[in-house]
Amino acid sequence: MSYLMKMLKKIRVFAKTSKIGTIAGIVLILMIFVAVFADKLAPYDPNEINLLKTFEPCSLQHIFGTDISGRDIFSRVIFGTRTVFIGAIVVVGISTFIGVIAGLVSGYFGSVTDSVISRILDVFSAFPSLLLAFVVVAAFGTGLVNTAIALSVVYIPLMARVVRSVTLGQKSQCYVEACRSLHYSDARIIFNHILPNCMPIIVVQATTNMSYSLLDLAAMSFLGLGVVPPQSDWGAMLSEGSKYIIKAPNVCYAAGVAIILCVICFNLLGDGLQEYYDPKLRKG
């Protein structure tokens, strides 16, 4: 119970620090809600083809109209939320998990361990993000999972470098020395004592990575290397819609606005969190 109260207090402070960030957070929570309850909220089956009703304009029956095969665009956008969030969470989840451990270990132990891990990360950051995904997809085939795993490898160095630099700073603090003199194990010092102090930067970086990975996943789908049709996905909708964009631009507009909204919210939330954790940035 007291944990819940603490959480609520934190949220209240956050809301006071950054109003825009709070609004962005609320929008994102709504989106997650939409993603979870997509099958309850969508008025139509997103894959239901109705060739009598192609390219319908916006109306009460079809809020955003219908696409080339008569599928309801509104329902496809709603189901797309699910695909997009799953993809982005897989990318950020894997990259955060591995990146944080790599960063903590290389920052804490230093010397040879640090050099080895840093060189490995150098190699992965030598690939511009989409390029490694291209190669992986070429080797193992398209699909949401393959693309997401490939992209997460690219995001590991970003997270690891940030965590490493914070760990380097924390390592020389008195509390770490105190832990050492109490003969705590390295694992205990790293995970129970240093990790909590890295949390702010991890949360901020992960939020920013969410927006990058959303854009990268959309790009992969747009190029036809991401999700496999007919699965609803915003990037894939843009790719399909671009073929008849002059005739029916509403497919692209609906999916495009959804992507932009989502990315902006993650960016604003990231900025808000940074302000919250770093009081120096708070505006007077």
Binding site: A126, L131, V135, A219, G235, L238, I259, I260
Partner: protein
């Protein structure tokens, strides 16, 4: 200094070696027989298959294949494409020009848009211009490049016919018109980042004492802003630009797709979709090399421009 530069240049070699192993291994690990893939579903006798395998060195052990490939790659021969049977090097050389022009134009636009914007937003901070500027750039940076491109296609090429919508022209000069919109779509994505960083650095510079002194001396405002404040604010902009070049190069794939330009990007995508492994390996290796070389150059410039940077820590 010389020691640092040499060390930095030599660092390229191990990274490239490991990259080449990764690229080679990933492609080798992929399921599917390359010979069947080359035949494209056509029937062939065992002799033809063996001949094909021998032609592409596929009958040798994997490690040997890697060394043959690496040795050839070092002499500039990236092998033969499975599909078109043309040398990969010449296929890349054919397409590289247009992509280079696209990326350079886009970089030019990035600077042309973000530097004035950053300066104006910093000088007129919290004014209407600053707010409109940040909202617009925020939206542009959140919009996927291909979406920006599609919006351009609808409004500037179809409805208003100001620009040619697809493909490329015959000469470099003609391409300026064809590549204008693709380059702009590519640039707009980065403008937000660069102008924000410049704005932040400019504000810091404008608040510092030496600017106050310069203004108190009665120096013309323009000189103060451009020569004094801007010069000191450019270092973070240059760093970020260097970090973003790789991103711009790889994102050119997306605009090439939207605007039907056949450059390096569409070459990669076709290669990936048709499992043309030598072509994928060649283009990937080349792009990674370009990316690393540019980053190395930026690192070296950085040290020359700002001698305060501690070489040991980097």
């Amino acid at each position: 200094m010389a020691k640092y530069i040499t060390k930095r240049i030599l660092m390229i070699i191990p990274v490239m070696l490991v990259t080449s192993i990764i690229v080679f291994a990933l492609v080798k690990l992929s399921p599917g027989d390359p010979v069947l893939n080359m035949l494209n579903g056509k029937q062939a006798t065992q002799e033809t298959k063996d001949a094909l395998a021998a032609e592409f060195n596929l009958d040798r052990p994997t490690v040997e294949q890697y060394f043959i490939w690496l040795k050839n790659a070092l002499t500039g021969d990236l092998g033969m494409s499975y599909k078109s049977r043309l040398p990969v090097t010449s296929m890349i050389a054919d397409k590289a020009g247009i992509t280079t022009q696209l990326v350079l134009m886009s970089m030019g636009m990035m600077f042309a848009l973000s530097i004035p914007l950053g300066i104006v937003c910093a000088i007129k901070r919290k004014s209407v211009i600053d707010i409109i500027g940040s909202v617009l750039t925020y939206v542009c940076s959140a919009s996927p490049i291909f979406l920006t491109g599609l919006v351009f296609v609808i409004y500037l090429t179809y409805k208003n016919k100001w620009f040619p919508s697809f493909g490329t022209g015959d000469s470099v000069a003609e391409n300026f018109r064809y590549l204008f919109l693709p380059a702009l779509a590519l640039a707009l994505n980065e403008v937000a980042l660069l102008s924000r960083i410049l704005r932040g650095a400019m504000i810091e510079a404008l608040d510092s004492n030496y600017i106050g002194t310069a203004i108190a001396k009665g120096m013309p405002k323009r000189t103060v802003y451009i020569t004094h404040a801007l010069k000191n604010s450019m270092i973070p902009v240059v760093t970020i630009t260097g970090m973003q070049i790789g991103f711009v190069i790889i994102s050119s794939v997306l605009v090439e797709q939207v605007f039907g330009i056949s450059g390096l990007g569409s070459l990669i995508i076709t290669a990936v979709k048709s499992n043309d492994y030598p072509l994928i390996q060649g283009t990937t290796l080349l792009l990674v090399l370009i990316y690393i070389v540019i980053n190395t150059i930026i690192d070296i410039i950085y040290v020359i421009v700002d001698p305060r940077i501690n070489l040991e820590k980097r």
